[in-house]
């Protein structure tokens, strides 16, 4: 019979027996092993490497792609990339998160329910394409082809050329680029008569004046500029002078930072020109033989831009102006660069002309270490478009955004007017809008106007790969491949001093049911038939790229990089490709580039560099560079708001991947609150402290922000980063900070219609927190 004692004996015996069995040791090991599947682990496999090119945002980076059993796990800079030479930018390094991430669109989608609510249902690709094709065909047949608009956010290369060609052949003048730097090509066209590329030979310059360009934070191509920085620091010790209201990362790396009042760069450039002209330090040979209108320019500058006057306008001391002008003029290859921020905060035409005049004064145009102009393959490749009756008629129809009309004859795009004109029914109604790699509902000033416009358009087709703000307002989403899955062209990025051409091949099978937008345009063109089909005869984008490669082959110029080169701009290139096939083969890994490209001569009406533009004179517009203030004073808004860009924040079609959000400093974002930067003086004046909540007010709206006191910010100026405050995407990005585009002031340059948002009158009002005592 079981007694209490017996029971206890049994238990103790059992316990000791257990100790002599494998049970406890086995289970201890088991528990340790269990911890191994607490967290996700990457599966092992065979490693392989591929080559690709990342062209997100302003990036153009050659990549080495590390794969494990075909699964991409890492993107690294390729040493075969002559531009970056093995470096990588934060965005391209973290783009893998975009590739795998939850914001990718997994197949063709059709809107159900109200626009903007983001409700979609899946739709077959074939029926989606049929829908688009039949709509386009119908509009064309009923003489409404001009009511089709294409927005192109890439704005360069073969893909953009294809869309532009489609528009032309289809019969619509409404091909719009956003964002678009209008001033640079226009200024070069007016002063040099050149339509094509303009490059800055930064690597060989020995003195650089940067008028607010965030050279090492995304201006031009980030990796190229970083590599250039290394080259400048290791080599000739080039001096970099940065004029900017804020001590940006570029200003921090410059040899000298001179804070300038926002938006007054043109006055400074002309002030420097004053000193150079007055003291006769300019390149006399160039001015006498190769320039036109110097005397008019000289008279104007000497009259209006005395250093004292410029000091008043720009806030830069007269002594500094004199000193910098002397240094600039004494340098062998001095260069003045423009393009505010990454180049996304537009400059006006006259401002660019003013800055470029400095390069002309030194004669530093179309030579090593200067500003060079040449033609890229994407400019010269396209054969003439065969136009039928519809397309011919369309050429006489005015654009919906007023660009190129009698009022604004010079510009090719006025994206800000597009939304306004549609929402106020100014011209004709738009029936179809196709959007490629652009997010106009986020990255144009006052996105709410764009939202209104999109609501009015019956068919908005978006080719975005991501569920971004614009996707939410689309009727049909036909997601493009991610760059790792697609055939892509690599053409010369902005401001590079030599042309390149490359082909980025797919390195992964498409993760989802996506299609190449280039293929879609080609297919739709075939579907429409007639002249449109014959203008776009390529079966798919890859075939088109092969054709482009063949054209590059026919130039018999340049070389394809096969081994890493440390100073590619210096080499003597000789063709290392024997046949088009060999070239195509080699383009799989390396890239074609031509450092010995022929520069484009001045093709102005006078055949010279025009300080005084004949074309502007013909149009009865001011023909000389000038400074026109962007803003008038406001008593209600005593401060000036400037948007600034950061390399760690992607602020165009591509939004920040989670790793970049993670790497943001704590002085940019705290939980969901964005920081604006102000100088401690300004803070004292306003009675606010570090981290205080304030209401940021501008004439266009207000937002709740926190202040960060920053010694490197000009007193009286408020800096706000661009690229935050998304309303779409996932919880890693959505609702974090505010979108500065919501509250900036858009100012139009009178002569050209170019809009900028470089300065906005603003005020900061301290928010008194309720229940502050109880919380403290």
């Amino acid at each position: 019979m079981l007694t209490r004692r017996g029971f206890l004996q049994f238990i103790v015996g059992g316990a000791i027996g257990t100790l002599f069995s494998p049970l406890p040791w086995r289970m201890a090991d088991e528990l340790a092993l269990c911890t191994q599947w607490w967290t996700p682990q990457g599966p092992k496999g065979r490693e392989s490497w591929d080559y690709s090119w990342c062209q997100l945002g302003s990036d153009v980076v050659g990549l080495k792609v590390r794969k494990i059993d075909g699964r991409i796990v890492k993107l690294e800079g390729s040493p075969l990339d002559p531009i970056g030479r093995g470096g990588i930018s934060p965005l391209s390094a973290s783009s893998l998160q975009l590739f795998y991430g939850p914001t990718r669109i997994r197949g063709a989608k059709k809107r159900v329910g109200q626009k903007g609510k983001g409700k979609f249902e899946d739709i077959e690709w074939s029926s989606a394409l049929k829908m688009l094709t039949s709509k386009l065909k119908e509009l064309r047949e009923t003489g409404q082809s001009h009511t089709v608009v294409c927005i192109d956010g890439r704005g360069r290369g073969i893909m953009s050329g294809l869309i532009r060609r489609f528009c032309r052949a289809y019969g619509t003048p409404n091909y719009i680029q956003i964002p678009s730097d209008e001033a640079t090509p226009l200024a070069i066209r007016l002063m040099q008569g050149h339509q094509g590329r303009v490059g800055f030979d930064i690597e060989r310059a020995d003195y650089i004046l940067s008028f607010g360009s965030q050279l090492f934070e995304g201006w031009g191509t980030p990796v190229r500029m970083m590599a250039a920085y290394r080259c400048l620091k290791e080599g000739q010790q080039t001096k970099i002078v940065q004029f900017e209201p804020r001590l940006s990362e570029t200003a921090a790396k410059a040899d000298e930072w001179l804070p300038i009042k926002p938006g007054t760069e043109a006055a400074l450039a002309l002030g420097l020109a004053y000193v150079i002209i007055k003291e006769g330090l300019y390149n006399k040979a160039f001015i006498e033989e190769r320039s036109f209108g110097f005397d008019a320019f000289k008279d104007m500058v000497l009259e209006r831009y005395k250093p004292e006057a410029v000091e008043d306008i720009t806030g830069i001391a007269k002594e500094d102006i004199l000193r910098i002008a002397h240094e600039f003029a004494k340098a062998k290859r001095p260069i003045a660069v423009w393009g505010r921020g990454k180049g996304d905060i537009p400059s006006g035409l006259y401002e660019v002309m003013a800055i470029h005049s400095l390069n002309a004064l030194m004669g530093n145009i179309n030579r090593g270490g200067g500003v060079v102009s040449f033609k890229d393959i994407s400019d010269t490749f396209w054969p003439e478009v065969p136009l039928d009756e519809v397309a011919k008629n369309a050429q006489n129809i005015e654009r919906i955004d007023d660009a190129g009309t009698e009022r604004y004859p010079l510009v090719t795009n006025l994206a800000h007017r597009f939304a306004e004109n549609i929402s106020s029914d100014r011209h004709y109604p738009v029936n179809v809008l196709m959007i490629f790699e652009a997010n106009p509902c986020y990255c144009l000033p006052h996105p709410e106007i764009m939202e209104k416009a999109l609501k009015k358009i019956p068919l908005v087709v978006n080719f975005s790969s991501f569920m971004d703000e614009t996707s939410l307002f689309s009727d049909l989403i036909l997601p493009n491949h991610f760059y790792l899955e697609a055939w892509e062209d690599v053409t010369t990025p902005p401001y590079l001093q030599y042309p390149i051409f490359g082909v980025s091949r797919p390195v992964s099978r498409p993760l989802y049911k996506t299609q190449h937008t280039g293929d879609i345009f080609l297919k739709v063109a075939q579907g429409i038939g007639g002249a449109v089909a014959s203008a776009l005869p390529w079966g798919d984008f890859k075939t088109l790229l092969k054709d482009v490669a063949k054209r590059v082959y026919e130039t018999r110029e340049g070389t394809i990089i096969e081994n890493p080169i440390s100073r590619p701009w210096e080499i003597k290139a000789s063709p290392n490709y024997g046949s088009p096939d060999e070239m195509w083969e080699k383009l799989g890994k390396g890239i074609w580039f031509n450092p010995n490209v022929k520069f484009e001569d001045f093709k102005t009406p006078t055949g010279k560099f025009e300080f005084y533009s004949k074309k502007l004179e013909d149009l009865k517009l001011p023909a000389l560079p000038q400074f026109v203030p962007w803003e008038e004073g406001h008593s209600e808004f005593p401060l000036t708001l400037i948007p600034y860009e950061k390399l760690m924040i992607a602020n165009d079609y591509i939004a920040n991947p989670p790793y970049m959000m993670k790497a943001l400093e704590e002085t940019v974002l705290k939980h969901n609150d964005i920081f604006v930067e102000i100088h401690p003086f300004t803070a004292t004046h306003l009675g606010v402290n570090e981290g205080d909540l304030v209401l940021l007010k501008t004439p266009f709206g207000s937002a709740r922000v926190r202040v960060h006191l920053y010694e490197g910010m000009m007193p009286g100026v408020v800096g706000i980063p661009l690229g935050l405050g998304h309303k779409a995407y996932d919880e890693y990005l959505k609702g974090k900070g505010i979108n500065a585009y919501n509250i900036v002031a858009v100012r139009e340059e009178k002569a050209t219609g170019i809009a900028t948002w470089v300065v906005t009158p603003a005020n900061l009002i301290k928010i008194k927190r309720k229940g502050h005592e109880t919380r403290a």
């Binding site: 340790a32 911890t35 191994q36 607490w38 967290t39 996700p40 682990q41 990457g42 599966p43 496999g45 494990i68 699964r71 991409i72 796990v73 890492k74 993107l75 690294e76 800079g77 970056g84 093995g86 470096g87 990588i88 930018s89 934060p90 390094a93 973290s94 998160q97 795998y100 991430g101 939850p102 990718r104 934070e217 980030p222 990796v223 970083m226 590599a227 920085y229 290394r230 620091k233 001590l247 990362e249 921090a252 790396k253 001179l258 760690m648 989670p658 790793y659 970049m660 993670k662 790497a663 943001l664 704590e666 939980h671 003086f681 010694e711 490197g712 910010m713 000009m714 007193p715 890693y732």
Partner: protein, 258 residues
């Protein structure tokens, strides 16, 4: 406390040299590090004390008023000290210093007491307050060479030790037991677009780092503590060399306030 013998390395001793004058603070190294080492990411990463970062970029200023203010960027990973405070205090032997100069951290062994974090004057170690999270779908991009870490353990920069292992495997197949200069470099050094970060074996007289560490402008952070870091910094600017250490004093004050 047991007496520590002076550290002696084997034929390889890896060091990192960072040229502050070349660093533009772009953060490519930070991202490359995160991707390479499977760092977790949470939806809100703005409280940096809770973030899991192996490499961060410190910003120092010369303390002068506008417009004389200057800024410099100091990328800071683990210093892999020759006299590592963290190793001395670890009660679990979850970290050690090996003969090639790397201070290790083994996650399954760590039980999260965080003594090492308190001991490290550089704040190089971070604690996993949560199990690692990755945005949905991005687990497909995890690097198989680095194990992900669970909640409750400390982690830090490993000088990309798995890259050493990879390089070593290749060398061993070719019958070599030593690596050539450049065969093993960290992800951050590889990513740096301005070439500010150099990495290599300081005992190899032909390596780039062995020349750089002899630069008169080279210094290490908080040398006064005798930690003997393996990460060297170079700056030709006097104020950078002077202010670099001050950063940590201010940071410590700030942390104790939180």
């Amino acid at each position: 406390m047991k007496h520590e013998h002076k550290y002696k390395s084997g034929p390889e001793k890896y060091v990192m040299v960072i040229d502050i004058d070349k660093c533009t603070g772009c953060g490519a190294c930070v991202i490359a590090c995160a991707v390479e080492n499977n760092l977790p990411v949470r939806t809100d990463e703005t409280r940096k004390l809770l973030s899991v970062d192996w490499l961060v970029i410190y910003k120092i200023t010369n303390g002068k008023p506008f417009p004389k203010t200057r800024i410099a960027y100091i990328p800071r990973g683990c210093m892999h000290c020759d006299n590592p405070m963290c190793v001395h205090v670890c009660p679990a032997s979850a970290t050690d210093k090996d003969d090639k100069g790397v201070v290790s951290q083994i996650y399954p062994r760590c039980f999260g007491c965080r003594y090492c974090m308190a001991a490290c004057p550089y704040h190089a170690r971070v604690f996993n307050w949560w199990d690692p999270t990755f945005p949905k779908g991005t687990e497909r991009g995890l690097n198989p060479d680095v194990s992900t870490r669970m909640r409750g353990v400390v982690e830090k920069c490993s000088f990309c030790n798995h890259r050493y292992q990879r390089a070593k495997e290749k060398a061993m197949l070719e019958g070599r037991t030593t690596l050539r200069d450049g065969e093993y470099i960290t992800a951050c050094a590889e990513a740096c677009p301005t070439g500010a970060i150099t990495f290599g074996n300081v005992k190899d007289p032909n390596s780039k780092v062995s020349k750089l560490v002899k630069s008169p402008y080279a210094f290490r952070l908080l040398e006064k503590f005798g930690t003997e870091p393996s990460v060297y910094y170079i700056s030709r600017q006097e104020w950078v060399r002077r202010e670099a250490d001050r950063y940590f004093e201010e940071k410590a004050k700030k942390i104790s306030k939180e």
